[in-house]
Amino acid sequence: MKAFAYERPATVQDAARLAAERPSARFIAGGTNLLDLMKLQIETPATLIDVNRLPLAEVTETEEGGLRIGALVRNSDLAAHPRVRTDYAVLGKALLAGASGQLRNKATTAGNLLQRTRCYYFYDTTKPCNKREPGSGCAAIGGFNRIMAVLGASDSCIATNPSDMNVAMRVLDATVETVDPQGARRSIPIAAFHRLPGDTPQIETDLKPGELITAVTLPKPVEGVHLYRKVRDRASYAFATVSVAAIIAKGEGGKPRLAKLAFGGLAHKPWRVQAAEAALVETGSADAAADRVLDGARGQGSNDFKIPLTRRTLRATVAEALRA
């Protein structure tokens, strides 16, 4: 691990200001992703800003009946929160499908939003990677690409976002709250928070330098069956090959009257297609929805299986929701 200057600012504002002043500074909260990458010298921050003592670890109710989740709320605490368990089960299920008990005890809400890809070549510093070293190329294209994207990829990068939580946040229409080094506050809809790779895959989110996430806000709960179906290579403690976060409410004649669907494992960001949700409500057919989700999907060879797997996973998810 390369040496760094360690700072422990006392206020949120000091943290953001410090991050803007210092070149290549990184915030550290749980550290479960960042320290892993620092040990491999994939991340080499010159300054590490420890935000763990900032007052951002509360879950509070919003006036609209939603939930405001502090940036530092640990994944395990969030999954165990009574309101999450009753009203936002898709979020609880997604969190519990990710990582291990030990990691969830450290990993934070904001840190999970910023979790970096698990692309093999991003991790292999002997191989080119446009995300790790812009302009160097992409070894995943034409390489081993079983875990890579089938939607929204570019000629520069075919990596996926590995988070389960993010997929649930997308289906719940969460909002990311931030503060910038000048003290200005901003609310970023989750749909605009994560970016597609394009020709700048090293820029993964809409955050500006020094901007600090303070909370994630959920709108009031959506009634319906909340499901998170994750397909992976082991029964536990593995990243998704494909996952579906779904909120489905059953209407007349056993057809869905409301459907919200987001997908993990397919792209550089959680994938959501509103036309697919409309198609599911209109026709009651998971295949009709899958057609729209997979519009433009393209395999890279060893990840071709994700395309039919997405369709089958959606079928199973819709069937389970309508059985409930």
Partner: protein, 198 residues
């Protein structure tokens, strides 16, 4: 004469370097004081900020029970309890734990009397080589507290109710601890047994 020429050349190259654009300077290693309460005893250390909690325990305090398996949070051999919660000590910097209370495998027994999980692992032969065992036991101790607190898991059917500790629940909740000898059936039996005695 020759040495003068060499000095002149050296001087030129130093000047040349000084005139070039300044390269980014890597930060120097930094040390700082850290106070940790470990197994009930306060320890005041001065550590390189890069020191993980695991390395602080093993290399600075001679507490070798916590093991370094993968050093990347994948195997669970380094699991300790911090303020009562299980974490991977390899993925946390010691300086981030100023003032925290840490329990390692060395701190679980009550004098000569083994912790119920330690006794159960012996009784059920919950290991072969034993390398993962301290992490397994610390993880199980944290996990049983989580179950007691009513935390759900990935295999809990009804998120709104407290889960009972089935073998399926034990296996899911312990999936962050790898045993390459594959003593899993005996580990599950040991945890099931100990859970009734804590």
């Amino acid at each position: 004469m020759g040495s003068c020429a060499a000095l002149a050349t050296l001087g030129a190259s130093l000047r040349g370097r000084a005139e070039a654009a300044p390269a980014a300077v890597d930060p120097q290693p930094q040390t700082m004081p850290v106070s940790l309460e470990i197994n009930g005893t306060r320890h005041d250390l001065t550590l390189d900020t890069r020191t993980t909690l695991l390395d602080a325990l093993r290399e600075h305090l001679d507490l070798n029970g916590s093991k370094k398996g993968c050093d990347h949070g994948q195997c669970g051999a380094c699991t300790v309890l911090v303020n009562g919660r299980r974490i991977n000590s390899c993925l946390s910097l010691a300086v981030m734990h100023e003032g925290d209370s840490v329990t390692t495998i060395e701190g679980l027994a009550d004098g000569d009397s083994l912790h119920p999980l330690q006794a159960a692992f012996l009784h059920h032969d919950g290991y072969q080589c034993g390398y993962c065992t301290p992490g397994q036991i610390c993880s199980a101790a944290g996990m049983l507290s989580e179950v007691e607190a009513g935390w759900p898991s990935h295999v809990t059917d009804d998120l709104t109710r407290k889960a009972s500790l089935t073998d399926e629940e034990i296996r899911e909740r312990m999936s962050g601890n790898i045993c390459r000898c594959s003593a899993y059936p005996n580990i599950v039996a040991a945890i099931r047994d100990a859970s009734t005695k804590i």
